[in-house]
């Protein structure tokens, strides 16, 4: 520990890197290394995404014509249910926190691992078990309730609701454990010198996400448990046949599922905060506002769930209150967008693949967010509820926001995770195709929705056919774009140039360790510095990337010289 290193060691033996430091199937299956668990999650969630994406393409293909092509109504119900359920529970919720978060949180903290490595592995296997439940449900008879499992239909349908709800229950635990692990890690394992306001914003976003995961997911757990009991024992809490109240089910469900929307989008926002700053080579604008707005979104998210139920038979007074509260969420969201844009102002913006994805995020998320205002307003929601307008709105947030942000994050940290650089040209092409395909898919859906095309219908009147066809073509373009992105990443594994420790010029701690990081992440505890101060970074050429040259020793005392634990903020 006493060794003094002026700059991180760039030449580490390859055997140290976490990918190859131990070999064999079991060394991965039983690993406690957060980086390997993160990568396993990445493979898992991307497989789930691929499966649900194919289901989406099946849906869009069916909707090319107003009449039946190859899916019966019942099959259509099953396909869109599984598309939604798999995307939500198996992909989006664990995507950024579990995959990228697992990889990055300890490294960004300069720690060796998360606080509870065994719990972390347990969480991954819970995810696997949940995924198996879902696949079973799909292969058995097909679930047709929609991903929301609304009663009373879910208590009467023939579909495998119990298997699916148990899957959700198990996945919920996976999510809780991940969130709990991150909160404890960030709270107790920050290195000396890293106060709360020297944390990278990704950590703030992860922290806010984790708060929601810990507070909201248990309610989902009890909801699906009661739903399973409703089916098996007819307990009657949600089933009107036994004096239950289906609207109460929706309250229970959305108390989780609305905050869950922020589980989905907050980590994406965290990624964008990093990407914007690094690729504009300029300190993030309004650090504290972005940090606080993450927490604010997490907390406001608990106050607005009723806006999913405006037409479900809520009392008038409650709808008004929820509608009013809904607009509060737009404030922190807008703060973030303004700060990202201000970060780019007068920065050295590089329009590389990562930055293109980040810009796409801002554009698409803004549309998604703004259309949310129509839906939050009580009067317009009466008309737009359960139309394609809603579908387009949340796809702009979930896909245009989270997925695009996730892709940007993967491209950004890919050199760190794998030690390989990807092909920039094809990366940019993939981003452009994704962007065009996405808008082609979902912009027409706003139009359809506002003209009255209801969601979840397998058939439609012919007037909508052109818009539906545009949307379907767009979906396939989007699919091609994503496929190219996958190809770019896989290609880099075999043909990619070796990545330097810091290819982009990031100032957060993960860029101070080797690419890919060694098993213990840091040979010596890293020097904690300002996460968005780029003045000490110097470009040493494509092969060596950026180097962090500490300005003066007195400015930032070395970690091992610091006696006391960090002051609190």
């Amino acid at each position: 520990m006493s060794a003094v290193a002026t700059s991180p060691s760039y030449s580490q033996p390859d055997s140290d890197n976490f990918l190859v430091n131990s070999r064999g199937f079991l060394s991965w299956a039983l690993t406690l290394d957060h980086k390997r668990i993160g990568l396993m999650y990445l493979v898992g969630v991307m497989s789930a995404f691929g499966l649900a994406g194919i289901l989406a393409l099946v849906l869009r293909a069916e909707l090319m014509t107003p009449t039946k092509m190859f899916l019966s109504n019942q099959q259509y119900n099953q396909v869109f249910t599984l598309h939604g359920a798999i995307m939500v529970f198996l992909f989006i919720i664990p995507s950024v926190p579990a995959a990228l978060g697992n990889f990055l949180v300890p490294i960004m903290l300069g720690a060796k691992d998360v606080a509870f490595p065994r719990l972390n592995l347990c969480s991954f296997y819970l995810w696997v078990v949940g995924a198996i439940f879902f696949l079973t449900a799909m292969l058995a008879t097909g679930l047709d309730t929609g991903w929301t499992f609304y009663t009373p239909y879910s208590t009467t349908t023939q579909g495998p609701v119990v298997a699916a709800t148990l899957g959700v229950f198990v996945l919920g635990f996976s999510s809780i454990f991940t969130g709990l692990n991150f909160i404890v890690t960030i709270n107790t394992m920050r290195p000396p010198g890293m106060s709360w306001f020297k944390m990278p914003l990704f950590l703030w976003a992860t922290y806010a996400t984790s708060i929601i995961q810990v507070l909201a997911t248990p309610v989902l757990g009890i909801t699906v448990l009661l739903l399973a009991a409703e089916r098996v024992l007819h307990i009657g809490i949600f089933d009107p046949a036994y004096n239950g109240d289906p609207v109460t089910y929706q309250h229970f469900f959305w108390f989780y599922s609305h905050p869950a929307v922020y589980i989905m989008i907050l980590p994406g926002m965290g990624i964008i905060s990093e990407l914007m700053s690094v690729h504009s080579h300029k300190s993030i604008f309004g650090y504290r506002f972005i940090a606080y707005s993450s927490i604010a979104i997490a907390l406001f998210g608990f106050l607005v769930w009723g806006h999913h139920m405006f037409t479900a038979g809520m009392a008038n007074v409650t709808t008004i209150i929820f509608s009013a509260l809904t607009f509060s969420v737009s404030i922190p969201s807008a703060i973030k967008v303004f700060n990202w844009l201000a970060t780019m102002y007068q920065g050295t913006v590089k329009l590389n693949t990562v930055m293109l994805y980040a810009l796409s995020f801002i554009f698409l998320f803004t549309i998604g967010g703004l259309t949310g205002l129509w839906l939050g307003a009580l009067s317009t929601d009466r008309m737009l509820h359960d139309t394609y307008f809603v579908v387009a709105h949340f796809h702009y947030v979930m896909v245009g926001g989270t997925l695009v942000g996730f892709l940007g994050g993967i491209f950004h940290w890919w050199p760190k995770m794998t030690g390989k650089m990807f092909n920039e040209t094809w990366g940019k092409i993939s981003c452009l195709i994704v962007f065009v395909g996405f808008n082609l898919t979902f912009l027409p859906q706003f139009v359809m929705g506002s003209r009255g095309m209801p969601r979840r219908y397998a058939r439609y009147v012919e007037d909508f056919q052109e818009l539906h066809q545009m949307s379907s073509v767009g979906a396939f373009v989007l699919g091609i774009g994503l496929f190219i992105a996958l190809g770019v990443l896989l290609h880099s594994l075999f043909r990619g140039r070796k990545a330097p420790p810091n290819p982009w010029g990031g100032a957060t701690l993960e860029w101070q360790c080797a690419s890919p990081p060694p098993y213990y992440n840091f040979k010596t505890p890293p020097r904690v510095n300002e996460p968005y101060d780029y003045t000490p970074l110097h470009f040493r050429g494509d092969d060596k990337g950026w180097e962090y040259v500490h300005p003066t020793e007195s400015d930032a005392p070395r970690v091992d010289e610091v006696e006391s634990k960090p002051a609190t903020n």
Binding site: F302, G306, G313, A315, T318, T568
Partner: protein
């Protein structure tokens, strides 16, 4: 949002002999236990009176006193770091939000006010109550 600094102070301030451990004195544990048993007796006793709507309030009040005793002494919150206390107590804020909004909506919703009688699921002889 404090952790390390306060930990160090709290731990070293209290008990030099046991590092960061802070064993509860036996008399405190016993006193709390007997207080809890007494309160249990009290709540059973008060349930024998007709108190109308006060009954629920009173029994919940006694339960809350008991819960506070358990949290403070058995769960050592009295010697714990403030962060842990804040975290735990804040969970009740969210419970209140959840139950509050849901009740506010459901209670002003006339349609579910009336209970109908559910016909028996099956004749008695075939009811699952019959284990034979």
């Amino acid at each position: 949002m404090s952790d390390h600094a306060t930990t160090a102070d709290a731990a070293h301030g209290h008990d030099e002999h046991h590092g960061f451990a802070h064993p509860m004195p036996v008399w405190q544990l016993l006193a709390v236990f007997f207080a809890l048993v007494a309160l249990t007796g009290l709540t059973v006793y008060q349930a024998t009176f007709e108190l109308g709507s006060m009954e629920l309030v009173l029994s919940l009040l006694i339960a809350t006193i008991k819960a506070t005793l358990v949290i403070l002494f058995f769960m050592h919150m009295i010697h714990d770091k403030p962060l842990n206390a804040i975290v735990f107590i804040s969970s009740f804020v969210f419970v209140a939000l959840f139950i509050g909004f849901t009740l506010m909506d459901a209670l002003s919703n006339k349609e579910i006010m009336e209970f109908k009688e559910v016909p028996p699921a099956a004749p008695i002889a075939a009811a699952p109550a019959e284990p034979h």
